[in-house]
Symmetry: C2
Subunit: 207 residues, 2 copies
């Protein structure tokens, strides 16, 4: 099926052109024409793949999430656990959260694009629905990591934590840390340091 | 000086027209012409007050911060403390943070406008500088509230907290909670409930 493959590859090239624009100047006033120029194809050709701007934005938004997933999996893969051992829940949780922060050029572009989408999504129900969709799944993953840490006696529970509340607090925290890093209030390293300070209080210190 | 007063009043009317646009459809592609139409004045007249779009955006951004300040002061004023007594640091901190969340129509509009600016600011150094400016002052206020709570023995310090780290975590947390409320992931009430859960762990429970 070479034709289908080409089609997907071309859509992905167009999405990448859109990200380059989104990460350098935002989606503010971006037209199909701008994206065609950036992808170095004609407007007609671009419209062959995406009939409307909304269709293109939706495709590119889904692709960001795929890439973010991949980034987190890579971080987890790089942990090189001791033979046959799963990394502990705190480690997995921390890598997921760190993977959501703008710590290098690639994740910086991802979060810049995400921020551009967020600004559109709050005024666009279809994008909002899409942007919202991943959150419950992410929260569920964090809940199960926190529960597993509790079962292993690794949570610092001076007061009982509600895993769902803590999961939503973590997601919100990383979102805010990302925003202030993109604004230049703090460096990525400072953001990570602050995230770790928060995790320190959720988990028992390793002994 | 009636002329100067009129000038300021007109600038503020224009800023309000800009917010209405920002809160309903974002700043995506908004032109001076759009704002003039929304403010029901001619483009020439608008340009008498703001020569460029950037000048107008900057003015309107400063005004959001003034309004947010006022909202927080009102919340604090409404606490009606016992005669001659200052409200405790936790109460002041909580009212400041709650005042930053989209809990009613007015604060919802404020945060929508803030989100539209954020999306522009990450690609615009001048707006970024402006958006960044308020953060250290806010962090300082939170640090002094946390220090004062510590002096009064009101912090729950199973492990020593670093007030500056905690202040930045609080600011980030509220920012993220706001974003997920605007996206419709949670209601304003749920956001406030989560914020309170976080404050519960920073402070000793009242006895």
């Amino acid at each position: 099926m070479p034709k289908k493959v080409d089609h997907e590859a071309r859509r992905s090239e167009i999405a990448q052109a859109l990200w380059r624009i989104a990460s350098t100047r935002g989606l503010d006033g971006v037209s199909l024409r701008d994206v065609a120029a950036e992808a170095d194809i004609s407007l007609g050709r671009l419209q062959h793949y995406f009939r409307t701007k909304d269709e293109m934005l939706l495709f590119a938004l889904r692709h960001i999430n795929v890439l973010a997933d991949r980034r987190i999996r890579e971080r987890l893969g790089a942990l090189a656990p001791a033979a046959g051992q799963e990394p502990p829940p705190r480690t997995v949780l921390r890598e997921c959260l760190a993977g959501m922060l703008p710590l290098d050029e690639r994740s910086r572009i991802g979060t810049l694009v995400g921020a551009a989408y967020f600004a559109r999504a709050i005024h666009d129900e279809r994008l909002r629905e899409e942007a919202r969709e991943g959150i419950p799944k992410l929260a569920e993953l964090f809940v199960s990591l926190l529960r597993s840490a509790r079962e292993r006696g690794e949570l610092a529970e001076e007061r009982a934590l509600d895993p769902h509340t803590e999961a939503m607090l973590l997601i919100s925290l990383v979102d805010g840390l990302t925003a202030y890093t993109l604004l230049g209030v703090q460096t990525g390293e400072e953001a990570l340091h602050r995230l770790d300070a928060h995790l320190d209080r959720l988990f028992r210190s390793e002994s």
